[in-house]
Symmetry: C2
Subunit: 341 residues, 2 copies
Amino acid sequence: MATKKVTSLEVAKLAGVSQSAVSRVFTPGASASKKTNEKVLSAASELGYRPNILARSLITGKSRIIGLVVSHLDNYFYPEALELLSNALQKKGYHVLVFMASKTSGNIDEVLDEILDYQVDAIILASVAMSSNLATRCVDAGVPVMLFNRTQDDDRFSTVTSDNFLGGQKVAKFLIAGGHKRIGYIAGWEGASTQHDREAGFIEELKQHGRSLYAREVGNFVQDDARQAARKMFTKKEIPDAVFVASDDMAFAVMDVIRFELGLKIPEQVSVIGYDDVPIASWPAYDLTTVRQPANRMVAETVSIILECIENTETKPRRIEIDGPLILRGSAKISDKSNKE
Amino acid sequence: MATKKVTSLEVAKLAGVSQSAVSRVFTPGASASKKTNEKVLSAASELGYRPNILARSLITGKSRIIGLVVSHLDNYFYPEALELLSNALQKKGYHVLVFMASKTSGNIDEVLDEILDYQVDAIILASVAMSSNLATRCVDAGVPVMLFNRTQDDDRFSTVTSDNFLGGQKVAKFLIAGGHKRIGYIAGWEGASTQHDREAGFIEELKQHGRSLYAREVGNFVQDDARQAARKMFTKKEIPDAVFVASDDMAFAVMDVIRFELGLKIPEQVSVIGYDDVPIASWPAYDLTTVRQPANRMVAETVSIILECIENTETKPRRIEIDGPLILRGSAKISDKSNKE
DNA sequence: TAATATTTTGCAATCGTATGCATTATTAAT
DNA sequence: ATTAATAATGCATACGATTGCAAAATATTA
């Protein structure tokens, strides 16, 4: 009934050794004889002893906690990433402390203070940016920061993204090959590097073929805004025959408007392409052609970099861009051989 | 460059007071004069001092960390719940440490040890069960445990669910009123209380009307299994004209099979009803009639109970069931007045 | 077997903060 | 102005572990 916290001292008494001996048995890499090992372990399991991570952290300066800041769990790319991330870190003996960044106020200042209070070993910002001021605070505190699925003009932290520029190019190439004449783009939030790079690659490739955007709206990576954008874009006299939407999440909303509000056929009248390849994209109701963000590889890189930074504080920040394939499905017309542009 | 950890002692020196004074300024409810307060706060902000939560926890025995065990982040009900939960706890000064329970092995034993190592103030199990043995360990350790969206035959922990039995009843009532003759059910994982209660309510209400299940398959709360179940159920000679699927997530998969593989019309030939009311259910491509699980109220209850348990260790476990409405959309035929059964 | 090298072990200090207790400064009451 | 009550402060200890250091135990070598 009463709260029992078993301490190393109690184990030591029962095992007939010193408290340090107990500690050493539970500290990988410390020296302890076979005999003590046995005595301590049996005493520990008898009492149900497990070392107190918090007390350990106080000494070692390592909490084995990674702070993760997320804002858009409603975009299905992030739960997936969170799951992978948490699993991968768990395997390495770390755990994820979650902080929600309020979507409205982009400032994560308060949240960041809270994170640092927990003495986290590192911070991962998932699709969240950080003021230069805050970055300095983290660097001063010796806490490595990683950006996941976002870059920023600050070379003090590592970033992992998909190759957004290349992804944009692939989409443009594919749409042009499909014989589309009037190509539109629905942008994400314009403060996001992912949005910026996807669009830049897209436009660049169009330009290479002597083409340019026929229409452009902004959806802010938010479904409601995307719906509005689609309504604007597709109620003009001459509507686009293809649209690249900066995220799958928005693309679903756009498809819904196109099909169910406006009664247009996809892909016969309009081709739609998304970005992310979240699971829903493969559901037959959407069957969305999209650029895959390889979440597993992105997470693997993130974990490997972050552990390296923790182990070796002198590690230089890195910027990783992972190539992802264009996944061909039914929401966009496929290149017709006779039709070469 | 070097890792600087500013301690209360340094602040004390700069402010010209004792270390205890600094501590008191940062401890709500402790006494400190106006003068010291000012001196300390200004010194603290000059040095960028913030109290070390871990050190504090060591003394107070409270870590302000809540351990959350999740397994199904791919079911979109959980990211939503996680977001709400994290936000609500954040407001109260707590944070969520995430542990993924491997979906394959139902045993969360190892995970639980890790949780306890972090000296969490409480544990929330989201749709995860716990062996009686483990429960005892938690009780012994004085850590309150809550089940979210699951109940269990163990009165040592509180549970919060929607009223699954009533929900099942509502669905049956509605389908019967809609004039359906052959009613099927696709079950979730049979070890889950939610599955069990939904089905029990459903069957009970059918019985009240002198009816029984026309067909039944098991989907295990997994989309692939649900697809298989749907294929079996709807390739018989005489197929059901209505099916209740134990979760939205499975319902989407079932709808896809019904419409795109088998070419049947929803709701003309088959009515489909789900459970959860995740955001996708309202997307026009699915437009799913479903029972809403009021995530916000469920989370609010969870947080309030858990905080109460932390404050007052004598708090008795409670079992909350929250009623959720049946949300009428287009995937199921609506009662036709002329047609009374 | 004796001398040396190596491994184990316990002691004691430490991490950064909270808090009971005794003391002093402040305020209120007479 | 004097005394009594209250508030503020500092001292010292505790929380539960890790770890450098020196002593003791064990293993190695000649």
